[in-house]
Symmetry: C2
Subunit: 243 residues, 2 copies
């Protein structure tokens, strides 16, 4: 892990860009770091540059509550090499959505399963590197982004103690079985009228999670309409579950 | 409205019992009452004495955030005269539930519709009396209890600005049309495995509400298993919506 830039933001949060091998990432640490901070992995749909304003806002919000926050670029997104198969799957998905057709499971599988397979080991490698820094300690939470990545991480990565998942992207049906294996505390966000997301599938997924402690927060509006107060609620969820 | 008893609780909250005609009720006002407090009407399933510990806990929790809180006994509950028709409907409901049978709409109608018809004017009369007290002012929120009463109040009582509804009791199908007329901000609590409540009906009801700002909080567990943190979340909802 190599830090490539460093800036102190106006709220005192230290923002550092890094690379982990060829993968770019960003780390935010709280202003006052007298003790090692617990860590929140900040998920996203891919494209660090485009997502930066929202990612930085979420990270600074978390840092204000004493959390470090970090993210890495997804495979095939941003400046990382494209995968022809993923691009094809994405184009097929877009065509189905634009035509108002139901999305074939087969397209979802082609799009999401390889992404999960590639991304999850990268997030785990990032976790290794991040937890070796003196200013960061466990426990670790995972927040948002591609929900299928969050599910797989929650199952295979025992250092993740709680997850805030956004039911706003496609989940391969085979992953419902993995969802049953999740046991950590969950908070699941659902946009009730998410134009690109099947509400009933999201409710079925919430039902499937094996966690005894799981909470669903459903709000009105489309994919990008998550109310601001859910940021505070998310912080409180992690404060409850990571302490 | 006649106050019949008064005690200062150990957290400084003033608890006063009152009668409004033949209807008993309880009013809690915050310790420091420099300005008139906004009011939360605390709903319940009937039986003030039996419900007192939980009602007082909710009221004191709200008072700690600066809200006054008040409740009245429901028709046919506690020390109030029983209705033979309501008792019969309750017995029929219990028999169906005990037998594991689906509950006929006809039973729900017989049980809930007359209760709504009688209770709602009483809560509005209580609101008149409470808002005439110098220590209480608007805005007003309604919290919990029989959800059908909350729906009707939200439609007909324009002084109620926000409602926290518990989707844990039967709603006559005819009231779904009323739910569409609700426009105030809502937070709806749902216990995912509520033994006496139909989850899909509750989700349909949430969908039906006409409010642009509505949030569903679903948690694991049965009817009485609402997590403690939902009390804080409820306070924050009212703080957001009543100020």
């Amino acid at each position: 892990m190599q830090f490539t830039s460093e800036q102190r933001l106006d709220d005192g949060v230290l923002e550092r860009e890094f690379t982990l091998g060829e993968i770019p990432g960003i780390l935010w640490t709280p202003k006052s770091a007298s003790a090692p901070a617990p860590l929140i992995l900040v998920g996203h749909p891919g494209g660090l540059h485009m997502m930066y304003p929202r990612l930085a806002a979420r990270a600074r919000h978390a840092a204000a509550e004493g959390f470090a926050a970090a993210t890495i670029e997804l495979p095939g997104s941003g400046d990382r090499p494209r995968s022809a198969a993923a691009e094809q799957a994405r184009a097929d998905l877009r065509r189905a959505l634009d035509a108002g057709e139901p999305v074939d499971d087969e397209i979802v599988d082609r799009l999401v399963l390889p992404l999960v397979e590639k991304a999850v080991p990268e997030w785990r490698a990032a976790l290794n590197a991040l937890l070796s820094l003196p200013e960061i300690d466990g426990p670790v939470g995972y927040s948002g982004g591609v929900i299928a990545i969050g599910i797989r991480l929650a199952v295979v990565e025992s250092r993740i103690s709680a997850a805030l998942l956004f039911a706003g992207s496609f989940v391969p049906r085979t992953m419902f079985e993995e969802a049953r294996q999740v046991t950590i505390p969950l908070q699941v966000l659902l946009q009730w009228d998410d134009e690109g997301n099947d509400r009933q599938l999201a409710l079925d997924l919430f039902d499937a999670f094996g966690s005894k402690e799981k909470t669903l927060h459903a709000n009105m509006g489309g994919h990008t309409g998550v109310p601001q107060f859910e940021g505070d609620d998310g912080n409180r969820f992690f404060a409850r579950r990571l302490q």
